[in-house]
Symmetry: C2
Subunit: 243 residues, 2 copies
Amino acid sequence: MPKSKFELIYIDIKRKIESQEYNYQDLLPSENTLSRNYKCTRNTIRRAIQSLVSEGYVQTMHGIGVRVIYQPVDQNTFTIGGIESFQESAARNHRESKTKVIQFTELIVDERIAKHSGFPIGTELYYIQRVRYLDGKPLILDINMFLKSLIPNLTKQIAEKSIYEYLENELGMSIVTSKRKVTVERITEIDEKYLELNDYNCLAVISNQTYNSDGILFEYTKSRHRPDYFCFQDTATRKRTSS
Amino acid sequence: MPKSKFELIYIDIKRKIESQEYNYQDLLPSENTLSRNYKCTRNTIRRAIQSLVSEGYVQTMHGIGVRVIYQPVDQNTFTIGGIESFQESAARNHRESKTKVIQFTELIVDERIAKHSGFPIGTELYYIQRVRYLDGKPLILDINMFLKSLIPNLTKQIAEKSIYEYLENELGMSIVTSKRKVTVERITEIDEKYLELNDYNCLAVISNQTYNSDGILFEYTKSRHRPDYFCFQDTATRKRTSS
DNA sequence: CTCTTATACTTGTTTAAACAAGTTCTATAT
DNA sequence: ATATAGAACTTGTTTAAACAAGTATAAGAG
């Protein structure tokens, strides 16, 4: 519950950037100044700054300072980024969400599924198909596979609300790492049936492997997104200037 | 040139994971063991491990250890991830690349372009359109905008080879942060003309803002990818278990 | 006026140590 | 036999200090 010092500092600086107390292209106060202000060591400040770097808020410059490169984004489209459930994204974008379960069954992993899911052959899974609605519009077709051995009593009722909420609040499981691929695939009959695709003949697919806090792969999901409401965000930083 | 200690350790452990000296689901040797082996402090080890965490190679578990969650990926598709030029990606995927410049002109930023590129109105830019071929197939239509004031003598000849190589090797500029959005858009006449889209009526678009080592936005690029050869990879980690 | 040099900043790397907190196993008391 | 408590591990957080290395400015030499 009581967050660590570097995290509080990170949150505070982030807030100051978002509220434009520190403006785009400004330099932050120097690490020594910040460590005096926040009454901590330079190390703790550096750790907070590192988090901001990895999220594309600032960029450090050796011998010069730390430059703010955050620019506010317009909230038109339904953006995805970081680890977030559909429910959380909907709330963050101030939209109303609904979920319809169209299939709820079980499955044993064969060679074909093993290859792209990362689950070993023979693993018992829940296999769930759900349509996700945002403000009444069907936007996403989720195809979830959950490790049965880790999630004892998953039901259709839970799937209709939020599986992640169940995992985190009821089972005390926590999600740590998410490996994702974004591709574009041809539409299938199921897509056409449940999503209002107009005349689009392909859609965006996020394939997702999720690991819990024990480092166990417990979920593989394909989220099939209607193109007109799809936006995936990302920030990358280069490690080094030269070899 | 002489890399830092933590980076050498990071590279060494990464190599051991990729060569499966440390296997999927294994625990790494403890931080204290590693610090003895590499003759450094625990801090330096922890820094190396942090890099591995952010790339989805390992996951730390409080009180338990550091678990390897790396699984080798099959190199069928042309994957994108991290900051990489087209040339570099091609080399990494062992493909032959070619570039054709179809437009090379200049441009002054108006309100519409300012809004999505992040450049201020009135900025002078190079405007370049290029088709990227991989193994003879046209896969990507790149629409580049480069800040003219930072790149004095960009020519069509350079654009035909590699602009990034020119920036890094000739101008000594270094690329640090890249903010990206992935969307799916309807095809345009130009897409249809230059990419062999068969009957796809949309394609994957990576919109890219790139910042140099001075924290200056110097590039905005839209890369329009043929769906059948598009794969974007990403790893995300959750910050905290609970509030 | 121009160039060099010193110096006072900035961030980057590494060491060392202490304590907090989570997990696992073992010895002890009941 | 079964709990409980403790010891011995693990990773997580924070402090403190020193030095390296890049950048800017101001003082001084030519």
